[in-house]
Symmetry: C2
Subunit: 421 residues, 2 copies
């Protein structure tokens, strides 16, 4: 069941919060030994909370929906350890804004989902539930795996590069990265503040729209119907030749099917300068990351993975401030140019990954693709539309203008229906 | 002594970290019962740390400089309580990025300075050291009072409206608000993420430049000399008639003196649309604040002051999302228009406050002035240049283009020398 289904079923008395929570916990008990999606669970406490929700007179828009929270997002009742032994047992005294808002709406915080170390490259133990030999993608690994494996209807993640869109594509669920800046990130571990957003992993566009409004602290609005089929810009971008041929064929196929369904689909190029977004992302994220974690660098260097020490931290510690400020300027200029692109298009269509989830646990394929779209601050959805040559999911990505997240939802639902015909 | 003096004196063997720390602690012991600048102190631990610095071979750019930290900024060795009984005893497990960077540079974290409740309007117990019947200004009340009263050479604050520039003007110290976005704010309580910055309270422009570079995690650069006297735009703005006549006269006098010293000073108006920045600031800050503190609203409503519940929280909880997004757009448009203004000017000159610190403990005069400049994301310095009719300090504010903070420092030093002639 989707979150929307659960709310309806409880509202109509067809089930209870407790029954839904028990169903999730049973699925988790059966599958967690293989999938390793969770960093923390407390089944007894969850059942107690579910019963309290059943007894409560309140009926929030997320009433009774179990949700997972990436383990870089603070929760007052479970530890938040950032995927590192340095913060083992770290117990925040309050909820992050997004968690408090989801609970206020009646959601049931069921568990903390596994993150890679500091939401960076060093892999987590989580496996892809579609094939345990493969990565679920990172860094919101546990959030995507738990939703894909029917342990949870929705989970909260984050994205700084591709940490929501990538695992959504690899695991075969809907993934959403909101417009940068719209959600409060207090209580969420910062990786790179100029790029970080929340993320949502879910099983429908409607669920994404629901939990997005809840986490904004506003009254949820249903996904709108488009007044006419969308104008879609098909943007292969300068990373197209890094996309696997089989995935290129699937994205081309998506473009053709959307056109057949009535959309106007035109090839489009990114505005001039956008090829510099990859370097800009690398510069900004490394510079900021290395400063955010000064406490850990100075006091716990030996407990940081070699992957991180020799990678992003090395780059960031030695990064030039002038180059960092230049990169912020490049990003701002490109964002402004993209605004004008949306005079001609309602949505952009792009790959959601370079290919299927690879074998092994390295969770970070496709970085150049995500660097572009994340640095542009655009809202994005990955639709789990396809299956690749190895039987693994392959997503397609839709993007909209900054702050046009509702247009994105309407367009994504239209596209999903068109692709499923 | 300034921070720069302390570093030089210790470097030349004329004093020690311990002696400097003891001098600060003695001043604090003498004055704190009247001024109430500190939320937490641990003199014995500070002396131990100072001795360790004296024994250490390392000589960072802030070596031996005692500094204070506003009590909304996390420290691993002292509580961080956000000015609210709700978080009494809250002990973070790590330092905020800015604190870790200052310690890495050899700085001595001497104490947590008093903040108003959640860095919002509800007053703190801190008094203005120049006149104990008057407010020091908020919300970085303790940081400004401690520096003004020679308890500390520098202190870290924050600004979301006028929380650094205001108390700097009221207490008679140098205050600095950096370009929005340059410093990592992880470990700093968010008030309104789209507006929040760090702040610095200090006793010279050189000290501000030093601690700014330290908190950016870059090698400090000395304040540059201007190649020629600056081009200054004197911007009274649409709030000018709310400035007290005596302060208007002082700012006019500053403009005249800077012109006599060789600057080209021209009256300038804000670009069209900037009169909407006041509403935009109010909308953005209230909307974001009310969501950031959802946990406290839901779980500790009765422990929040009536000032905050009936003010910013009321406005934010009932705020419209559409109006919030519109306000973000207004702010972005105005920022872009201001960029062009700096083709003609190196610096802007404006009041730093509507007048002297008023009697009583309400710490928040001058809001409309700060709403403009803070929402524009410009870097700003308040120079403690004048004394008002009641013998209290009155600052003047200089501003520069976004990310031109080094130009601001060079111009502020030039202006300070010109004004002190």
């Amino acid at each position: 069941m989707t979150a929307t289904d659960i709310v309806a079923a409880i509202g109509e008395g067809r089930t209870t919060c407790e029954a839904v929570a028990r169903a999730c916990l049973e699925r988790i008990a059966a599958r967690e030994p293989d999938v390793h999606a969770f960093a923390h669970l407390d089944p007894d406490a969850s059942i107690t909370t579910a019963r309290a929700l059943d007894r409560s007179g309140a009926r929030g828009p997320l009433h009774g929906v179990p949700f997972g929270v990436k383990d870089i997002i603070d929760t007052f009742d479970m530890p938040t350890e950032w995927g590192t032994p340095i913060h083992k047992g770290r117990q925040p005294g309050r909820d992050a804004a997004c968690v408090a808002l989801a609970r206020k709406a009646g959601g049931l915080m069921l568990g903390k989902t596994v993150t890679t170390e500091f939401a960076n490259l060093h892999p987590s133990p989580t496996c892809n539930p579609r094939d345990l030999k493969r990565t679920p993608g990172g860094s919101s690994s546990g959030s995507a795996a738990a939703v894909a494996d029917f342990m949870l209807p929705v989970a909260i993640g984050t994205q700084t590069t591709g940490s929501t869109i990538r695992p959504a594509s690899f695991c075969g669920v809907f993934g959403y990265r909101p417009t940068w800046g719209e959600h409060r990130l207090h209580g969420v571990m910062e990786a790179s503040g100029s790029l970080d957003t929340l993320g949502v992993l879910a099983r429908s566009v409607e669920d994404i729209a629901l939990i997005r409004d809840v986490m904004l602290g506003i009254a949820p609005e249903p996904v709108a119907d488009l007044p006419r089929p969308p104008r879609i810009g098909f943007c292969r971008s300068h990373v197209w030749d890094q996309v696997e041929p089989s995935t290129r064929a699937l994205v081309e196929d998506a473009a053709a099917r959307l056109a057949r369904a009535g959309a106007s689909v035109h090839d489009m190029d990114l505005p001039p300068g956008c090829e510099r977004l990859n370097d800009a992302h690398r510069t900004i994220s490394s510079f900021e990351f290395a400063r955010t974690f000064t406490y850990e660098i100075e006091n716990h260097w030996d407990e940081i993975s070699e992957t991180l020490r020799g990678g992003r931290l090395h780059d960031g510690i030695h990064g030039s401030f002038e180059k960092y400020i230049e990169a912020l300027g490049i990003a701002e200029t490109c964002r402004r140019r993209l605004d004008a692109v949306f005079d001609s298009y309602d949505l952009l269509l792009a790959p959601a990954a370079f290919g299927e989830a690879p074998e092994g646990m390295f969770a970070f394929a496709g970085v150049p693709l995500y660097q572009i779209w994340t640095t542009l601050h655009l809202p994005a959805i990955s639709l789990p539309a396809f299956t690749g040559p190895n039987g693994m999911p392959v997503g397609v990505q839709l993007l909209a203008k900054r702050h046009a997240d509702r247009t994105l939802f309407a367009g994504a639902r239209w596209a999903w229906r068109a692709l499923m015909q």
